[in-house]
């Protein structure tokens, strides 16, 4: 069964299938948040067609909303509540959307242990650290046992330990396979670690789409081959590294040492894309980084979504 094909952005047809973990990767200002807000039904698009779980987000009713989980960039609400209380309270909103095949909400204790907050279950929310707070936000996003979970920049401002813990939570979640996850990040390593598929967004366009390996291949098919022969070091760039190496070894055999074949890494690709995007952008709209946040909506290109 196909769960929620999602068509996003300027002529790009993006389908996210059930159980997939997809990362929207891109530099700041690339349109990640705008995209995700359109999908969540929090923002109107100017054009185009979008379907999330088979419904246009702008027409989505409460029953549709009950099937989504949302984790936004910064939340500090309900500071005076305790973790367990808040999760139980919010969970009640989902109870009327429970079906025998898909029960809602999540069991509170199970949810708390899934995000690793069992020790803090009775703590006041205002007392949590940044990383704990974020894990609570994920727990809240999951409380209705959503079919799709949106995470907007989930690890911004984390220390390495908090980041690792958080990745653990997401991996446990994706191992269960019942929730489709769409997350945004500007951190390539994070995208590589967590997702089965990466979409690189730059300037309001999806410039690349695929698994980390296919992406690197898609953007740059050339490989770098290094070797030494007779004490001299050589570097060669080739489209088809396998044929080149076969020929090389066939010709010189044991004369070749220190053979190394390196395909352009995803990092090289991503850096190149970001650089291109930023140099273009500076030329077109000088001082865009100084623009006050309030005006962003009008300048963002991504609100133009076409199927």
């Amino acid at each position: 069964m196909r769960y929620g094909p999602v068509d996003v952005l300027r002529g790009v047809n993006l389908c996210v299938y059930r159980g997939e973990v997809v990362a929207l990767l891109g530099p700041n200002g690339a349109g990640k948040t705008t995209t995700i807000e359109i999908l969540e039904g929090f923002r109107k698009r100017s054009a185009g067609e979008v379907r999330v779980l088979g419904t246009d987000p702008e027409q989505g009713d409460e029953g549709w909303r009950a099937r989504l989980g949302i984790v936004l960039q910064s939340w500090r609400d309900h500071g005076k509540w305790r973790i367990g209380e808040l999760l139980a309270h919010l969970g009640r909103y989902y109870a009327s959307y429970s079906t025998p095949e898909h029960t809602r909400p999540y069991n509170t204790d199970e949810l708390i242990s899934l995000v690793g907050l069992t020790k803090q279950a009775n703590d006041k929310i205002a007392k949590l650290s940044g990383g704990q707070r974020r894990r609570l936000d994920v727990a809240i996003g999951l409380v209705g046992r959503p079919e799709i979970l949106f995470l907007d920049e989930p690890t911004v401002g984390f220390d390495p330990q908090a980041r690792q813990d958080f990745h653990g939570v997401l991996r446990r979640l994706s191992d269960r396979g019942e929730t489709t996850i769409l997350l945004t990040t500007h951190d390539l390593n994070e995208a590589e670690k967590l997702s089965s598929r990466i979409l690189i967004l730059a300037g309001g366009r999806v410039v690349a789409d695929g698994s980390p390996v296919t992406l690197a291949r898609q953007v740059s098919s050339r490989s770098e081959i290094r070797f030494s022969k007779d004490g001299l070091h050589y570097v060669h760039s080739a489209e088809d590294a396998t044929s080149y190496v076969r020929a090389l070894l066939g010709q010189y055999g044991r004369g070749i040492h220190n053979l190394e074949v390196r395909r352009a890494s995803l990092e090289d690709v991503y850096t190149k894309i970001v650089q291109e995007f930023e140099s273009r952008n500076v030329k077109r709209t000088p001082g865009r980084h100084a623009r006050p946040n309030g005006r962003r909506r009008h300048a963002k290109p991504v609100t133009k979504v076409t199927a």
């Binding site: 948040t33 705008t34 995700i36 807000e37 969540e40 929090f42 923002r43 409460e62 029953g63 909303r65 009950a66 989504l68 949302i70 936004l72 960039q73 910064s74 939340w75 500090r76 609400d77 309900h78 500071g79 919010l90 909103y93 989902y94 959307y97 809240i140 209705g144 907007d152 946040n293 309030g294 962003r296 909506r297």
Partner: protein, 252 residues
Amino acid sequence: MLSPWGISLAVLYVLRKRPVPGTHFSLSVQSIPGILGMNVVFTGLLGVAIALTMDREDGTLLRAKATPNGMLGYLIGRVTSRAAMTIAGLLIILIPAAFLFHGLHLRDFLSWLKLAGILLLGLMATLPIGAILGALFSNAQSIGIISLPMMGLVAISGIFYPITALPGWLQRAAQEFPVYWLGLGMRSVLLPNAMSAAEIGGSWRQPEMIFVLGGWAVIGFLLAPAVLRRMARRESGSSVARRREKARRRQA
């Protein structure tokens, strides 16, 4: 919440011997029903408005929007809790006042029933207006601005001194707003009938009171849904982040 009411009760107690001009009735006792009416406006109307702006700033409202039926649940919860606090505020003044002062009609059940009726009408007239103001003002700072004209309104609404002592045009202005009518309604229930002599037209004017407060309630209930829907529609992650950024800059 306790202390401002405590202070006003203490001041009134000290001044309890001063009579309402032209009568032998204590001016302090005459003020108490008006203070109860003022409480409805400050705890209820202003309270809802401030809560709504603050809840938008910290993302509570967005959380409600992300939850099925959450916005409805949020609004019902907020309004109910504000109404409960307004009732509590009323009792916090009224119960000590019953022991400290003489002359308030609190003995018979009927006056409590009438009091409850006027309170209910007052809440219906003020809470939706509070919600509208809260939805229109973008942050908690700017909502502080409306508490200033509200103080002015209290000053001309005959809370602490009979309104008949004011010039005619101020009287007319005050009669457009719920503060005066709430005070008048409370006085009509809690004070002896003879005290109506100090009012405009020498009467408690209960039909007019019900008409004006009812009118505000109708306006509020007609406008609030549209204004609140507009507010809810505009709520998104980036709008919360934007307000947060603004608040951060203000502090810096």
